[in-house]
Subunit: 498 residues, 4 copies
């Protein structure tokens, strides 16, 4: 929807040829609209935010029915009057988008994005594989770790800085590759790139981007270092050219090769949607069927033949190689033995195979094994983890279990969808604020102070899968009833007040 | 409420001096009632069941408001016309009490009783101690035992007969003592006594009965054997006289001394009610304060001094002694060592101390210990269990763990409240039907075929307490919200159809 | 309900002698109907789908009340106009049955069947024993197994083919015997037979079929192999004749003898229904009481005397014998020692004895024991499992634990009820698509690649029973309240926005 | 709100210059109010409780809108007419605050406080850190301990008296320091001080009090002993002066130094509120930003440098030192080795770091270790615990695990908010009544009778965190739907009555 500023709106007052008003964030053209109660009733809101007047008189949904075909655009959020934001009652009545300053955790952005995103985009971003057990487990696993705070430690200064793959970062977190950023916001990957630089956080450029690789690389600050994701193309020459472009641009410090997606997963919410969005996918392939949701439309080029024998070729592409999507200690060991730069323990955000373990749970299995390996050096073989990171305390938990850093995916898209580049920066500042507090309350002054002993991980592998709500079963199952309930006997008796 | 037959009702037709009608099971006197729409509208339902006519025209609750002061009684359930029962649609409309033949499990009676009982009676019967965790756990523990059915066994004939304390029983189940039976039904303990005889099931006469001990004893069939519960009175002479009366009456085969109630528990639902019911309590004590619910009103005579040193005196009362309310292996052992006839593992229906274990869980601890005891003989020291028995399979599980038989309490009261004596008999026939099927499907032809190997009890002590819903916490806790939810942003957006 | 095509409907336009319209999928005869607003209002929808017009003006339920006695049939789903299917808004308004092409998982069929089936049929198919803990556990157990995907394996080609009992199958899955197929669809077992052939999947012909054995056998493709279920009849001669008919027809490759049902279980939802359906049951027995639901009506012929001594006789019937309904390792061992062809680990879809373990859980106990047995050969003694299979990943999990193949029951009936034979075929194609993806993402190219190490089964026996919702308890239990809640203090205070 | 007695109200009848009425507990000035229906309609309620009349005619919320600016005060609860209290129906209609005599557990006060408190105060008191898992876990952990009652013990007399840090107490419980008592009630800490004396319970004076230290100390009974909490100030001189004032006042018996709050936690409910309350905070600091909720406004003075090297200085302040906020056995050991008087195992009411363990869980880890320590003496190094104590049985459980006594925080504030000083006293009498009953039913006559063997603690560390509801996830997650549900197919079909 076209964003409209208050200034533009003001040019469409009661005497202008085109008369507009804004109601609950949407701008309508009332030029030809006749109010049943007379024109004078609406003249006063022409060229202004008419939400308060409207809401006093009408149900909110009425405007959609009556003026649904007269929408001009949406009132630009950053221009909503500050007074309106401060006055909570007004905010409530007009249902304008909350001011970015009221965002206090990462979930706040998700809730905004859920409202603003097109249904297809929301379905594509938020969906997971099959019954989405894995998707939810990714989040819930963090609550199974208990924290053990230490007290009486001087924590006046907290230092969260670290390095990953030789690059400095203000916090042990990177922005993971996510496909189709323009489904979230017009500025897509370019906004993420800039927010990463401003926040001193590394970004892993996606293969399935909305902007071209060249556009992403050029949008960087001249000194900005980035990583690059790689889906290996069935046409290996294409992949080779892709990596040459990376090398030519410079300051691309590692290649994260996605290995958990020889075929992109069944994401049913996405499948139920039609592919009807104009975002450009940079990996063009015209043979993709158009009726299986976003996921199926974009994945056909991925090479299912990729295997360990391809590693020499991958290494020959000239960048440090990190395998993204390792899910057990056996494969972690293979990656280590092949002399790679690192791995990402990940189940692809719960989007590939339902029932897989969360990256965090696999981390608890991988690190003890790695530490026993001859030649293992945590700086030379770095272990990352992603999936479900939503709190600063989650980063702390992952580091306590041995991760070098964590990747975040959906939170970036949700912040981007909510407020563009400033949203991503705000979201990152919240992570920093939360991690700083966690480190202070845990009695850890720097990243290297964070130890396994700061967490109790005995429940890590206890398996939440079995107790997670099964929505399909629940929605189809009809509860047993007693005969009295079945025939309604006593249904009119007031509940006794015990 | 006074039960009124259809015959009686018919004598109050449109030409009788007193004009009655029945609406949804309640009989009203309409003699002086003027219908706003004219008398002719109601003349046709005088002397008849007017439910259908009424329900077509009015909301069900209206009649309570308009005619609440003209109630004559309730239409007797056993006389509702058979056609009405067969025609389910009619049953639903008129909300008449379901016919007893439609009861298929014990919960069915509870649902009926919940409607029919006075709020005070329902509160007294259904309540448990404190947060009622124990009350609910008593039921849920049975689901933690898994059954191991054996197949390819000739199960054409199933024999459920057993003996307890030397008395024959058609099923390994007895009717436990419950206080104040007349809160459930006018016939109170007398109906239970008779139902017990008809069903060949033993009844444990309660101390806190609605009818006098003498009335209960006299209501027995001449050959009927019973047990007797005993709350030891602070005035020991009173207890002595009580037992002498039992001995004199004859055929009282054991004394079940309640040992878990030196003070009756805090049952909050009951406490919130006022004691306002006319049922006579046979243990009269005029010093009881009248404002703390039924429980507090009836318990002050119980002797908190009772202890193991009293056993010689208890034995001297002349009857086999069973201690009711044992809750750990240490006390079970003491009872065994004191040469008693048996014990009941019980937490008093979850009514005494919240957080106690269920009788079934304690059974799993007690039996392995007892079997190691020198001189232990399962016929000479019998172990009973009560609490939460609602299915035939529950009886099977208790027997597999080593119980001689199970006691049931609330189901008796609920069946009694629903349909009087026939209700108790029907409820017992359901237990028999369910146990027979369970035994057949488990491949066990008789009680002695039921073995520990028929159940998997590894989850028995896994502690449901910690995962049971905490109603107090839940009702007071306010969920966290995101900012968007808090200010209602997007609240009018239709849910996306994913 | 009679299916009516759009062509037929069109022949009943405003000038035809019989005037029809279709409203929300149901065809009504409006010939003699007088619309309160005048005939012209309905003339325009005669001979057409009038849903849109109707829905704009009326509540959906009104038509049932007004025209409930004028139903002609149902608008045939496959003939709904493609435009209507593509236009989701229209689909929603008219609530026509979704097009079969929109089915993407097996639950989709269940949801359709739940709407289309007669209440008695739905109750019969969907119900389980007692509290239905076992029924739900059958589904939930699969979520307790975690998958361990392996990466960097060439998975361009996936082969799902296997054999069972010497017969080839396109997927390790067979269609289990289910009673009374015509409750689901007019074509009943005949449609299942044909769908099995078209999908290269084996069908186990049911004893309690709607069509006669002869009709089922004749409906096969000339080369089609099948299995046959067997309830042993108390009159053994009847069983002998049944098997002779199987032998005579040819291409019946195994006899699956149901051993978990000496008596059919208590399925309360079914019991609460009256037996009022005209489907013919092929095991006629006129002594069955007519008032205990479908289950009780059809089971009285089953022989409760069947035992291990009958095995020589069973073997003499001339077909490889598989025992269906084994539920513990002891009985599995007996079956193995008796030299049978295999077993089905099954609790009869949770329909026999509540509290039994799922087939999958028993599989985890049986396979390690079998592998230790001298002479055990997985091709000569095949272990099948059924119960709760709803996803391709479920098949994978069962195979990883050692099953030869899985049986599916209810999904067949639900697909049949939804779309007839094409529904069953579509449902099977979904299973294939899901299993193929699971195998690819797990890094397993063929059935023999699937190993125990692909799953983590530590939670398999952790016992969900104890934490499953107890609907009876929950529906009857009244939550505790604080005094303020009880008297409504503060009930009108708006919730604070925290 | 100013409390107004019925006597005062009566002086403002229809002929008085100022005309008042009380509606649902609030007193309004109607002098200048014109009722649309004429003055006579309201004349009759002038000077009286007009709730019944009002409620018969109007929706409850109307009065807030119409007379919200005419509030005089609140009708004093203790003066509501006894008849109104006895007549439950009336109580319900008028929604007057329930009489204090109807409070039967500590949750009752919380429910009242939730209604009466200003939103900001409720948010500040009730909130916890981040996702509030820790906050809820604090309560739920108690249900994971099972009680093992012993029977046949003479429990006619129960003695709950104990000492802590040399001070006598009527019950093993103290009133913990809580900030800003005047947010709850005008009398704030002064009322708590007096209630503590009347109930023979010790009070720990808070540093962040609403009344000055001097006012609190002076409000004591001349012989009353108290403890004092201490947040160490970044300006150590301030702290020194604070302790000198304590010493000078006398009868301050210990200093509880809060060590878990180098920074006050993120409490999101509180953050979402603006700091808009006039309660005076005694630790003035003008540099606090005013927009981050109560918590952030009051915490900036706390010294994050505090560490074990400061202990000599802390000891030099002249009072026995107890460290409040110890959360693991390592720190408990350090405190013991530094020769302190004791520790409080606490996670600060779940307000500091989410994911920390409850004090009770830490207690189960600390006590076995301490008992092995050379020189450990439970009288010389006392271990306290707080967090989630709401029942007498909770105190029992803590003592059984080894605690000297428990601290309670929020219940004090809620009782204070509900009924002022009498509320706190009533709340304490409930704790005493519950603990007495628990001790009697457990067979323990005095505090020293309470042993580890009275509880089963095997589930103590089983980790509820992982199964607690995740409100953020739940509120944002959209359940999967089948296609039929998605398009509303069958939505109008009545639910089948199974």
């Amino acid at each position: 929807m076209k964003p409209i500023t208050l200034q533009e709106l003001a040019q469409h007052g009661p005497t202008a040829p085109k008369k507009w008003t804004a109601i609950n964030g949407i701008v309508y053209d009332l030029t030809s609209f006749q109010h049943p109660g007379g024109d004078s009733l609406i003249a006063r809101i022409m060229g202004k935010n008419g939400s308060l007047d409207y809401n006093k008189a009408h149900q909110k949904q009425l405007v959609h029915e009556v003026l649904g075909n007269k929408i001009v655009g949406s009132l630009e959020a950053s221009l909503t009057t500050p007074e309106a934001v401060d006055d909570e009652q007004t905010t409530l009545l007009t249902s304008e988008k909350p001011n970015i300053s009221t965002m206090i955790n990462t979930f706040d952005f998700e809730a905004i994005a859920k409202v603003l995103l097109a249904p297809e985009a929301w379905a594509y971003y938020s969906s997971g594989a099959d019954d989405e057990v894995c998707l939810r487990e990714n989040r819930l696993v963090f609550a199974r770790l208990r924290l053990v705070p230490r007290v009486m430690i001087n924590v006046s200064v907290i230092n969260m800085q670290t390095t990953m793959l030789g690059c400095a970062s203000s916090i042990p977190l990177y922005l993971s590759a996510t496909a189709l950023g323009r489904l979230a916001h017009e500025d897509g990957e370019l906004a993420i790139t800039k927010a990463g630089f401003n926040s001193q956080v590394l970004y892993m450029l996606p293969t399935l981007s909305s902007y071209s690789l060249d556009e992403m690389l050029r949008s960087r600050h001249p000194t900005q270092q980035v990583f690059s994701q790689l889906y290996v193309n069935a046409d290996r020459q294409r992949t080779k050219e892709y990596c040459e472009a990376l090398a030519k641009a410079g300051n691309v410090k590692a290649l994260f090769v996605t290995v958990d997606a020889p075929q992109l997963g069944r994401r049913e919410k996405d499948m139920r949607m039609k592919f009807g969005i104009k975002a450009d996918v940079q990996q063009e392939d015209n043979n993709v069927p158009k009726d299986e949701g976003v996921t199926r439309s974009i994945s056909s080029f991925i090479d299912p033949n990729l295997n360990w024998d391809d590693l020499p070729w991958l290494k020959s592409l000239g960048l440090p190689i990190v395998l993204k999507g390792i899910q057990c200690k056996e494969d972690a060991l293979l990656a280590f033995e092949h002399g790679l730069a690192g791995i990402v323990l990940s189940n692809h955000g719960g989007r590939q195979i339902d029932g897989a373990r969360s990256g965090l749970e696999v981390l608890g299995e991988v690190m003890p094994m790695l530490r026993l390996m001859k030649g293992y050096n945590k700086d030379k073989f770095q272990v990352f983890v992603d999936g479900g990171i939503r709190r600063g305390a989650d980063i702390f938990k992952a580091l306590a279990l041995g991760a070098r850093a964590v990747g975040i995916g959906r939170p970036v898209l949700y912040a981007l969808a909510s407020y563009g580049q400033p949203g991503v920066e705000k979201m990152l500042s919240i992570f920093k604020s939360e991690l700083e507090m966690t480190m202070r309350l845990m009695g850890t002054r720097s990243i290297q102070d964070i130890l396994q002993s700061h967490v109790i991980a005995t429940q890590l592998t206890s398996g939440n899968g079995g107790s997670l709500k099964d929505y399909m079963l629940d929605s189809l199952y009809e509860p047993l009833q007693t005969q009295a309930q079945r025939v309604g006997f006593g249904a009119t008796k007031p509940t006794s007040k015990m």
